[in-house]
Symmetry: C2
Subunit: 222 residues, 2 copies
């Protein structure tokens, strides 16, 4: 649901003064690219195949994005912008309350990526993101910074007020561990099943969020 809403919002912004068909083709191209990058990785994804899949001419794809790198950037930023906005909205909602706990802040941060898991297209983005987090190059860093910087700083600022005895370095080190947890758990919940030798069934999103919030809150306080 969350994903569908974003797609609509993006279309609306993109369609100012342009024929609706073009905007839809551009979105279709971004959707196809998201799937290709997620399934095959950046290197193996092919601009020509992506354009064909989206039923867009390669001339049009080149006109909009120019290079595979720019197409990747736009695919990543489209959902990344939604993630960042949603995180800031939820943080504002929590902190507008008279009283809130560490757990409420942690929950606000990880709820939006778990919502992405609800649609196939959102899951494609999560795979693509897990891949990007495994890339230690400068382009990947720059792209992640564009999406994560503002929310991470805003969240850490609130956490600092809730945990006044932690230094900035400790706060960031613990926040990094929190990020590592949710990215790993989200990259495939199937994995819980896997490492436990299929003794346990894949838990629901709500249960995973509860478990991550509890574990991480103890980690931050410990």
């Amino acid at each position: 649901m969350a994903v569908a809403k974003t797609a609509r919002a993006t279309k609306k912004r993109g369609s100012l003064g342009r024929p609706e068909g073009r905007t839809e083709s551009r979105e279709a191209l971004l959707d196809a690219a998201e799937r290709y990058f997620a399934e095959r990785g950046y290197a193996a994804a092919n601009l020509r195949e992506i354009a064909e899949d989206a039923n867009v001419t390669q001339a049009m794809a080149n006109y909009w994005f120019g290079t595979k790198q720019e197409l990747f950037r736009q695919v990543y930023l489209r959902r990344g912008a939604w993630l960042a906005t949603r995180r800031m909205e939820l943080l504002d909602e929590v902190t507008a309350k008279k009283r809130y706990a560490l757990e409420d802040i942690l929950r606000a941060y990880i709820t939006p990526p778990f919502q992405l898991r609800e649609s196939a297209q959102g899951r494609a983005f999560l795979r693509l993101q897990a891949r990007l987090h495994a890339e230690p190059d400068e382009t990947a860093y720059a792209l992640r910074r564009e999406v994560y910087d503002q929310p991470v700083r805003a969240y850490v600022k609130i956490l600092a007020a809730l945990l006044p005895r932690l230094t900035d370095e400790h706060l960031y080190l613990r926040f990094a561990q929190f990020i590592g947890i949710y990215i790993y758990i989200l990259s495939d919940a199937h994995r819980i099943d896997e490492i436990s030798g299929t003794r346990c069934r894949p838990p629901s999103a709500a249960k995973l969020i509860d478990e991550i919030v509890r574990f991480t809150a103890s980690g931050f306080k410990g």
Copy 2:
């Protein structure tokens, strides 16, 4: 140091009844492949280039490994076997003591991968592993299972004895979070720097291990 030891051990095993030169070429091919897979990813890595880099004929590379997939498997299992063995040895060392704490068990599990970070070749493996953890396909699962299954079960068994009120499902869910943390932190410590807006310097391996052990121990107990 740890890595050099492994390489020697592998060579010794590999060289039974074979001319030493061949074993060295085979190791050189595995080293080159480890770097290529880490730097370019699986899809973009090219068997011909890897063989050239290792100064091995492509016929020989084909004879030893046949396919790129088998070469990847051997690259992964070479260090993966070392990781699994080292983890089991350290677990035995800790549990041989009269008294040991949850923290000692967690430290034993993450010390070997942090040792890999000490050499360029080990760092190549860690990047490759981070990539593999971002791949949700069956081949990746099967490969990870070969390396992780035995140690994870042995560690969780000891953790279960130390944390008797946790169910199996909770133990595995928390162990998965522990894995997510160390893989993310290891994939590049530079990242701590990055998310903190370069306010903090990259911490030493010893400090990162201490921080992960502390955070995770609180998480397990919480």
